[in-house]
């Protein structure tokens, strides 16, 4: 980092920062008001996840670990792991349609929760406290809903290979959808009022602006890419589960600023609610009653794996991906020894997005740093290096 102007000074912030935040080190070069350069150092949270995963004794333990790499994306990460494992074990085409619908349902529910929580953070960063508290309240309501029916506020322990881990009936799913609809309805009302709040919008507009060229150069993903005009969504471009059967509306804005990222999240909330309704309709159409047919215990899973290996359906590699709230999560598994996958490579969208963040915040106002950080919303935990 080199000084560019007379009066520029360097200072560090982190790894232990104010409030409740993840450990990360920021090195700023600033003239006081303007931020000229930023270096980010990760690595304070390096947990050697690859080695930890390779040491586990069964597939269930590996799923539990994958879920806890980034707790806020637990369902998406475990789903990508399960899809890759099913790919390797030759079970890809044998997953029941209802199970696929349930997976879609909870993946979208997770997206909704994360977006509402992030709206709360963004609004707080713009110093509008009341709507921030209201968003936080509704995110809390969603977490409590998940806890009531799935015993986990973060949708952990639900996924398993070619099965489901929780007992749920159609009425439960109906109740969850009804509650989510009511929450989203209230959230939309706050959004409507918030959009009319001039100071909130002014602080977001033109803040942390990135263009499409930079977004492409840094291979940005998810919300950040969509806000800069790149419509990359694996649910549309490379459909997995039953996403191919849904006509998803394009969520794409072109300004690339904080406001665009905020609006992409709002659009995705509407989109996710439509997908949840589609899943519900299809479950009814398929005469889904409860999850007892898809509950997978250890013996059943071992039997399925043994059968697959005997028939020679297994492959050398397995690949799975899921579009999480922040972008795609890729999982690559290899070297199945009969108990676990010895090599698992998980890639979260944050690895690309933080590079763009470093680029995007250059020559912005120091006062806007919080807003920029909130709109990018990257998890340090997922970048295990």
């Amino acid at each position: 980092m080199q000084k560019r102007f007379l009066g520029d000074y360097e200072f560090i912030w982190g790894p232990v920062r104010k409030g409740v935040s993840e450990s990360i080190l920021y090195e700023f070069l600033s003239s006081g008001e303007e931020l000229h350069d930023l270096n980010i150092t990760f690595g304070y949270k390096k947990r050697n996840t690859k080695s930890v995963l390779a040491e586990k004794s069964n597939l269930y333990e590996q799923i539990q670990t994958v879920e806890r790499i980034s707790g806020l994306h637990a369902f998406s990460a475990s789903l990508s792991y399960c899809l890759s494992a099913e790919d390797l074990l030759g079970l890809k085409g044998k997953i029941h349609e209802n199970l696929q619908l349930l997976r879609m349902f909870f993946a979208e529910a997770e997206r909704l929760r994360n977006h509402i929580e992030n709206l709360s953070e963004i609004t707080e960063a713009t110093y509008i406290q009341v709507p921030s508290a209201l968003y936080g309240y509704y995110a809390e309501m969603l977490k409590q809903l998940f806890l009531k029916f799935l015993n986990s506020r973060y949708l952990m322990g639900i996924n398993t290979i070619s099965g489901f881990m929780k007992k749920l009936s159609l009425d439960d799913v109906k109740f969850i959808l009804g509650s989510i609809k009511s929450i989203v309805c209230d959230v939309k009302e706050i959004i409507r009022k918030n959009i009319e709040t001039k100071s909130h919008i002014d602080r977001l507009k033109t803040t942390g602006k990135i263009d499409m060229k930079a977004a492409k150069q840094f291979c940005s993903k998810g919300v950040v890419a969509k806000s800069a005009g790149i419509d990359i969504d694996l649910r549309k471009t490379k459909p997995y589960l039953l996403y191919g059967g849904i006509k998803l509306k394009n969520v794409e804005l072109h300004d690339g600023d904080g406001f665009s990222r905020y609006m992409v999240r709002i659009e995705e909330i509407t989109q996710s609610l439509c997908i949840l309704e589609y899943c519900m309709e299809m479950l009814k159409k398929n005469k889904f009653d409860n999850t007892s047919n898809y509950l997978m215990n250890r013996r059943d899973l071992d039997k399925i794996i043994m059968d697959s290996m005997k028939k020679g359906n297994t492959r050398k590699h397995g690949f799975g991906y899921v579009e999480s709230s922040e972008g795609p999560i890729f999982c690559y598994v290899k070297d199945f020894d009969g108990h676990i996958f010895k090599k698992i490579n998980l890639r979260y969208p944050f690895e690309s997005n933080y590079k763009l963040f470093t680029h995007g915040v250059k020559n912005t106002m120091m006062m806007d740093f919080n807003i920029n950080e909130a709109t990018y919303n990257f998890s340090v935990a997922a970048v295990d290096k």
Binding site: V16, G19, K46, T65, R68, P131, A139
Partner: protein, 277 residues
């Protein structure tokens, strides 16, 4: 516009829980795993006893536990022959190690339903009694958080405490940016090698008397990330550097993965009131 949001906030009304005056939790929440030894096959001695399992009838729950929280051999001694296993003192479940993955509950539900979720607010007694056990903080409580390698779920739960539902500020508990103003250090994460010096640096800056709350299974023993490698992920409970601190400071273990906001709130209130028994 300021008036507009003030009006909307007032119109929204009070949504905070009455806790701790009343335990008005939402339908209860999972705060413990209950082990019913009367239902356990080992207690009944019904099925065929297997010698290779140390004369225990069934060790399914123990074998599925990813963190080694269940030790059936600790409560059932090896019986001299085939018959009912006798009980030794001590619990089957190590509360500090349980991450609430639910694998034992799911497994046992097909066999004997001896393991179930408990929905009571079951606070684990702090394992390391320090010098001060009574009320040591007179007024508000200031909490400093440090992340030593967590997944982000614990942080999300601490942040949730500030939402209108829990609203910790009404109870005089605040998150402080500086360790110098802190009364409590809230530690999350697996205690990575990179964070070890930084953790002790932060700790040195917190004036005594103080409390250290090890929040989540990761900070206690490494949680699901505990491995056989030399590089960290071991948590703080069995850390050599912490042994001295356990004698001098007040250390509280707050297990589970992640702990429910009510559990965090409960611990902070107990510290504030000096109600630890």
């Amino acid at each position: 516009m300021a008036f507009f949001w003030t009006y909307n906030g007032l119109k929204f009304g009070i949504k905070s829980v009455k806790f701790p005056k009343e335990n008005d939790f939402y339908d209860g929440f999972i705060s413990s795993i209950n082990f019913d030894e009367n239902k356990c096959l080992n207690s009944k001695g019904l099925a065929n006893l297997s010698e290779k399992n140390g004369d225990l009838t069934c060790i399914e729950c123990e074998s599925v536990c990813p963190t080694g929280a269940i030790s059936l051999h600790d409560i059932y001694s090896n019986s001299s022959g085939k018959g009912k296993a006798s009980r030794k003192s001590g619990g089957a479940l190590d509360t500090n190690r349980c991450i609430f993955c639910g694998l034992c509950v799911d497994t046992c539900s097909d066999i004997a339903s001896a393991i179930n979720y408990g929905k009571d607010l079951n606070l684990y007694t702090p394992p390391f009694p320090g010098n001060d056990r009574g009320k040591i903080f007179k007024r508000s409580l200031f909490v400093k958080h440090i992340d030593t390698g967590s997944c982000g779920a614990c942080e999300s739960e601490i942040n949730a405490l500030s939402n209108p539902y829990y609203n910790i500020h009404r109870l005089g508990i605040f998150i402080t940016p500086s360790p110098r103003f802190a009364d409590v250090l809230l530690v999350t994460g697996t205690y990575t090698k990179e964070m070890s010096d930084i953790f002790f640096n932060v700790l040195e800056n917190i004036p005594r008397p103080r409390y250290i709350v090890l929040m989540g299974s990761c900070s206690l023993f490494g949680g699901i990330f505990k491995n056989g490698l030399k590089d960290g992920n071991d948590g703080l409970l069995f850390n050599d550097k912490m042994k001295k601190l356990f004698k001098e400071d007040n250390v509280v273990a707050l297990p589970h993965c992640p702990p429910n906001p009510f559990e965090i709130l409960n611990v902070l209130l107990l510290i504030k009131k000096g109600d630890f028994k």
